[in-house]
């Protein structure tokens, strides 16, 4: 789909800056739009507000403490961070995780994907100007939040994973399993109704189809990741390669067009897949203990771990010295998606530009930790 996504070489005259505090943004970022008669010709996303220096303050922390700090990188995908950070330590220290703990982690991970995708859809609707859709989605999302609160004890930062398993608090007894099952049934019904309503709304469809389209080639060039990449038609999902997900059956959803409609539908269609995984996990939940406490701390080399999180590929790495974390690096999906966001803005109307940023599911709190060296805005990107 041709969307005029080309940076024109002419002198760009007018800039419309937005942010860092803006009604369309859930996070503080600065969006500089270079416009020509309300059509965006180039865009720049300036982040940095959320830079708190997480990797630096992680330096020298005990591993357990560092793990719980990674959770505070992001309030949307907090579980993914602590999960991957624990996985990193477990990989280095060669700890076996009890299968029951593995399953509970996956249930938490998928619940988080549900709440993240629902938040994405609700935020997308809000930026579309459709308050009613947004509120309905927030209402549906409340089910997931209550389930997360039930299992983890908190609505946002639940901290389920610890080294060697999950916290005793997160044990799934029969009552909780019952509630999870009911919640999943309710969610499936509601999201089905919503999807029906959503794709039949002619005004919404005319707003979102064909806007901010990214082609396959562009997605590869811009190193797009996660659902945004899958929405362009490239079937890449790290869950296929993760051993934790081996026992589960699920489909990797793809769309063809890569525009906002494809991105929104992508998330809607991924929700039933997550529900499917949770149902399988509940059904086959292995018996046994949930924490393996028989492990010893030792020094390790740099350990690396990748997992698939709601927004794409998450990378954690550090080495352990005297039980303390050194040389920590976290690379989140949104950092690679920033280029896609800027690119998706080009050629759209100003009103659509924020939507084009939102379609890549930005999470700048995740992103704001790395120094970014950019040779050319669209060519090469290297994180340090």
């Amino acid at each position: 789909m041709d969307n005029n996504n080309k940076v024109t070489t002419q002198v760009i005259e007018t800039e419309v800056p937005m942010g860092t505090i803006h009604s369309a943004a859930l996070e503080p970022y600065r969006l500089r739009l270079f416009v020509e008669d309300e059509i965006v010709r180039d865009a720049e996303l300036t982040i940095g507000v959320n830079h708190r220096g997480i990797e630096r303050i992680m330096e020298g922390l005990p591993v357990e403490k560092a793990n719980s700090l990674t959770e505070k990188i992001c309030g949307i995908c907090s579980n993914s961070h602590i999960w991957n950070s624990c996985l990193t330590a477990e990989k280095g220290l060669e700890i076996d995780i009890p299968p029951r703990a593995e399953y509970i982690r996956i249930i938490m991970g998928e619940l988080e994907r549900l709440h993240s995708h629902l938040l994405y859809l609700a935020h997308g609707s809000e930026v579309l100007g459709h308050e009613t859709f947004s509120m309905r989605l927030f209402y549906i999302r409340e089910t997931v939040m209550e389930l997360l609160r039930m299992i983890g004890g908190n609505r946002v930062q639940y901290g389920a994973s610890i080294i060697g398993g999950v916290r005793p608090r997160c044990e799934l007894d029969e009552m909780r399993i019952q509630k999870l099952t009911e919640g999943m049934d309710y969610l499936e019904e509601k999201i089905g109704e919503f999807a029906d309503r959503f794709v039949r709304d002619p005004m919404v469809i005319s707003r979102i189809s064909g806007i901010g389209a990214i082609t396959k080639a562009d997605a590869r060039r811009l190193a797009t990741t996660g659902p945004t990449l899958r929405a362009t038609g490239i079937e890449v999902d790290l869950r296929r390669d993760m051993e934790q997900y081996e026992p589960f059956e699920f489909d990797v959803i793809t769309q063809d067009t890569g525009d906002i409609k494809a991105n929104l539908l992508m998330r809607v269609l991924e929700i039933p897949e997550s529900i499917k995984i949770i149902r399988q996990a509940i059904k086959d939940l292995p018996e046994g203990k949930i924490t393996n406490r028989s492990w010893e701390m030792q020094d390790t080399d740099i350990i690396r771990s990748y997992i698939e999180v709601p927004r794409g590929k998450l990378y954690h790495s550090y080495k352990i010295e005297d039980g303390r974390v050194r040389n920590s690096i976290v690379r989140t999906p949104s950092i690679t998606n920033i280029n896609t966001m800027e690119f998706a803005c080009i050629g759209t109307h100003i009103t659509d530009a924020q939507l084009a940023v939102v379609q890549c599911d930005p999470c700048f709190t995740c992103t704001d930790r790395a120094v970014q060296i950019v040779d050319h805005p669209l060519k090469k990107i290297k994180t340090v």
């Binding site: 760009i12 800039e15 419309v16 860092t20 009604s23 720049e44 005004m203 707003r207």
Partner: protein, 332 residues
């Protein structure tokens, strides 16, 4: 005309204005509480809060100098708009028909145009902290296009206000000329008189089409969602109103409520033949139309996203064509 006539007319005019204000402050609350909140399955605010208590609250806030090259002019604009909207109501009152050319459709259209132009002035005079003025280091070494001219988000909405004047208000004005074509006179007195003889224009084919066009046109004029291109939350936040605070913001709140009432009362005058007049029971119909208008608008806006030009232009063009059809039908 003897003195008692003048006094009665004066009481009628003032009474009608008071009723208009009294009704209009409740309209935003009705929209929010009874329609949108109900559609969104929530409790919603008290009916008095959005339109009545909020302006009163703003009257008690501190007055600061707005970020504007001409603060005094900028602050005067909402009051001017309020006066213009009140004038529209005044010229449609039957007591004012002796004004001749001023009590005609031309005066109404002219006043509505001035009301629209006000947004352009507001937009170009407002320099909010939310865009260019934000002290954020974004034009640093390595940033893109450092030499580009920077434009406030209000300037974007000024451009859109201009488009609304040039293009967006067509449907409303075309619809206003359907009764003119049927009554074959631009004077409000003649249009009202025609309808008292021949029954309301609303109940003719041309009148029904005209009413639909009028409704969509007034939504565009009021900048209700989905036509809220001038104050889209997704980019320009509140557009021209961004810098108004305290009592000046209160005026903008009151103006908005009053404009809904005025457009509804104009509709009642032009399409049903009942001018706003406190001394006749017809005022009840005016009030009912105002409430129905705001309920319909709230339903429309609750179920639609905001339009960009891609949707806005075709909708306006289609509605204008419909309006032209209505005028053609009125000659048949």
């Amino acid at each position: 005309m003897d003195t008692s006539m003048i006094i009665i007319s004066l009481i009628a005019v003032i009474g009608t204005l008071i009723v208009a204000f009294a009704v209009s402050v409740w309209l935003p609350g009705i929209e929010r509480k009874f329609v949108q909140a109900r559609i969104q399955q929530r409790v919603g605010p008290p009916i008095s809060s959005p339109g009545f208590m909020a302006p009163i609250k703003f009257f008690f806030k501190q007055v600061m100098s707005p970020n504007s090259p001409m603060p005094k002019l900028y602050n005067a604009l909402p009051l001017v708009t309020l006066i213009i909207v009140t004038l529209i109501l005044l010229v449609t009152m039957p007591q004012m028909y002796f004004l001749g050319a001023f009590a005609s459709i031309i005066a109404v259209v002219g006043l509505l145009k001035i009301e629209e132009i006000m947004y352009m002035f507001m937009g170009s005079l407002s320099k909010s902290v939310l865009s260019v003025n934000m002290p954020f280091p974004d034009r640093v070494k390595g940033a893109k296009h450092i030499d580009a001219t920077r434009s406030f988000i209000e300037e974007v909405s000024t451009l859109r206000a201009f488009r609304l004047i040039a293009f967006g208000s067509f449907p409303l004005y075309i619809a206003l000329f359907v009764p003119v074509a049927m009554a074959k006179s631009i004077y409000l007195a003649d249009i009202v008189g025609y309808q008292q003889l021949n029954g309301p224009i609303l109940f003719t084919v041309a009148g029904v089409i005209g009413a639909i066009v009028y409704f969509i046109g007034s939504m565009i004029l009021l900048n209700e969602y989905p036509f809220a291109i001038m104050k889209t939350k997704a980019d320009v936040i509140e557009g021209p109103y961004l810098e108004y605070m305290s009592k000046y913001r209160a005026y903008t709140y009151i103006t908005r409520g009053l404009l809904i009432f005025v457009l509804a009362s104009l509709f009642t005058t032009m399409f049903i033949g009942i001018p706003p007049n406190i001394l006749s029971p017809g005022i009840l119909i005016t009030i009912a139309v105002a409430i129905i208008f705001s309920i319909l608008m709230a339903v429309m806006s609750a179920f639609s996203p905001v339009f960009t030009f891609r949707q806005f232009y075709p909708v306006v063009a289609a509605t204008s064509i419909l309006g032209v059809l209505a005028i053609v039908a009125s000659f048949l």
